[in-house]
């Protein structure tokens, strides 16, 4: 009997202390004579799969990009959490991490990249500049005061630049948000289903 099997021989995602395992597969296997049967809700499985393999888009404009590169490299390593491949093309990416200041000349480029990404897509605004303009809020004529003037954002990270651990925390928060169904995509889809469309 392995750890995941309970007293009846059923497989459950229960931690040794009895609570539900965070981030574990949202389903259980009931053993039958010939093999196990997977019993679970489809939505939960899809959300679990999506959250565990988010591929970020390589989009760094200024200083926060260096902290993003640090998070990708050996010491902080975000590929442990599924962000294995950082894609250069928006067609193959799931999450866009806006690392750096957005200026008026760059805003249409950002919008175009976001439009080119395929659904479901998520956005993380990293750093003070992408959240609200940051140190360039007052007396500048060319800075967009917050990336959410251009595209809708799911997770904001504070810091100038935020530590790699802060970026990891934000990525894990995004994963939890996806699993629980709280991102804009999912709310929009749920509303449209419940409105009978």
């Amino acid at each position: 009997m392995s750890d995941l099997q309970n007293i009846n021989g059923e497989f459950e995602n229960v931690s040794p202390t009895g609570g539900e395992l965070e981030g574990a597969f949202p389903g259980s296997v009931h053993p039958t004579a010939s093999g196990g049967i997977l019993v679970t809700k489809l939505d939960e499985v899809i959300n679990w799969a999506r959250s565990n393999s988010l591929w970020p888009l390589v989009f760094g404009t200024s200083c926060c990009a260096i902290e993003m590169m640090s998070t990708a490299s050996a010491k902080y390593d975000w590929s442990r959490f599924g962000f294995e491949v950082a894609r250069a093309t928006p067609r193959q990416a799931d999450v866009i991490i806006i690392a750096g200041t957005i200026v008026n000349k760059m805003a249409p480029v950002l919008k175009r990249l976001y439009d080119q990404m395929a659904d479901p897509k998520y956005v993380i605004a990293m750093g003070a500049c992408a959240t609200s303009g940051g140190p360039f809020f007052y007396n500048t004529y060319s800075v967009v005061k917050g990336a959410d003037h251009v595209i809708p954002v799911d997770v904001y990270i504070a810091g100038c630049p935020p530590r790699p651990e802060a970026l990891m925390h934000a990525l894990i928060t995004l994963q939890e948000k996806i699993r629980k169904g709280w991102t804009r995509e999912q709310i929009k889809n749920n509303n449209s289903i419940s409105n009978g469309q």
Binding site: S62, C63, S70, S73, V103, L113, F136, P161
Partner: protein
């Protein structure tokens, strides 16, 4: 603003970029602003004939954050830290340049301990910047592993900085008059450990990349810049030193304690990408030796000279220059006697280095363009300000 990819079929059409550059059958493509190898947001409009480059035109401004205008409303203590965000890989050195300019205006004398601490921090920053350059350059050319090696060592420097200055990347540590805090008690020990470790790592870098035959074939003979052109285009730093121009500010116009420290100015005469690569790699060793010479001889005393809380520069203009990892960074302040500067101009090294890109890349292939941009070591926020 965007150039749509187009094939020129009519040779008499006048191209928007001026000059008769496009012939029949030429292809105009965009590289960037979002591209893995543009080191930031640089938009290049390249005119190709087949795969050979005929013209490269940089379009800037995708990270123009109006820093010069903003600084006109910040006080003399505040504007220093905005320059950390300009060339964020040499953030200490940028701050140092600004602090030197303010001190020149106020004619403050800095205590010797502060001078040595500033030079130590500058050289550690130069090491970190060259490490990242090396990793990113190898990644651009196609070797993905050196990126992780470079960041592993860079994290050690970041940890040392974090203990003393409080931040990893944009360390707001220099103030007019000295430095903000004293060194952490662990600083000397950790730096000595780092020096011991890094000496063997530079040999490892040489083994991994410099002696690699594929890398050498990619870099040798590519992107030639002659000495006269380097001076005419205003190139400074390793870009110019790879073409034989002697322009190290630490040697020509020494500041702080550079006059008491033994180090060589690395000059190569090849003028191609490999020469510029070798200059930076050898500079790693020189910076390490400067740190080694200074780490045991930090004088005791104050780390900050006494200054007033609100600084007012007298009427006039002041210019100070420092050697960042990319070249000469100049700060030109025009003051009218108030608490905020009247006009600040930052002479950024990348701006002039980038203007030589078109000249260097003509006649080579697109793959060579990536190698050339890598050796120029561009940081686009530094160019756009």
């Amino acid at each position: 603003m965007y150039r749509e990819t187009q094939i020129i079929s009519d040779g008499t059409k006048s191209p928007p970029s001026g000059g008769d550059l496009e012939g029949v059958g030429d292809l105009v493509i965009n590289v960037g602003p979002q591209h893995p190898s543009t080191h930031g947001v640089l938009h290049l409009v390249i005119t190709l004939s087949g795969e050979t480059i005929k013209n490269v035109e940089p379009h800037l401004g995708y990270i123009h954050r109006s820093i010069e205008k903003m600084c006109e409303s910040l006080s003399y203590r505040q504007f220093i830290y905005v320059t950390s965000r300009m060339d964020y890989l040499s953030s200490h050195i940028n701050n140092h340049g600004c602090a030197l300019c303010v001190e020149k205006g106020l004619q403050i004398e800095i205590p010797p301990r502060a001078k040595v601490i500033r030079v130590l921090m500058d050289e550690l920053t130069r090491l970190a910047s060259h490490q990242l350059w090396w990793g990113a350059m190898a990644m651009d050319v196609g070797a993905l592993t050196p990126f992780f090696h470079a960041f592993r060592e860079r994290e050690m420097i970041n940890d040392i900085m974090e203990e003393t200055c409080g931040a990893r990347l944009t360390m707001n540590y220099m103030v007019p008059g000295g430095v903000m805090f004293d060194l952490h008690p662990n600083f000397q020990k950790r730096v000595k450990e780092f020096i011991e470790l890094f000496k063997s790592k530079i040999d490892e870098y040489d083994e991994l990349v410099t002696d690699n035959i594929i890398f050498q074939n990619r870099m040798k003979g590519v992107g030639y810049l002659s000495k006269e052109d380097a001076i005419s285009y205003g190139c400074t730093g390793p870009t110019a030193r790879g073409s034989g121009v002697s322009c190290d500010i630490r040697k020509l116009y020494p500041y702080e304690v550079y006059i008491e420290v033994q180090f060589d100015e690395i000059i190569e005469t090849g003028g191609d990408c490999f020469a510029r690569y070798l200059v930076r790699l050898k500079e790693l060793r020189q910076s390490l030796s400067i740190v080694e010479q200074l780490i045991d001889n930090i004088p005791e005393g104050d780390f900050q000279a006494k200054t007033k809380a609100v600084l007012k520069l007298p009427k006039g203009e002041f210019y100070s220059r420092v050697e960042t990892a990319r070249g000469e960074f100049g700060v030109y302040i025009v003051s009218e006697g108030g608490t905020t500067p009247y006009r600040i101009k930052f002479r950024s090294p990348g701006f002039s280095n980038l203007s030589a890109l078109n000249h260097m890349a003509k006649g080579y292939k697109i793959g060579d363009l990536v190698a050339i941009m890598g050796t120029l070591d561009l940081v686009i926020p530094d160019i756009d300000r």
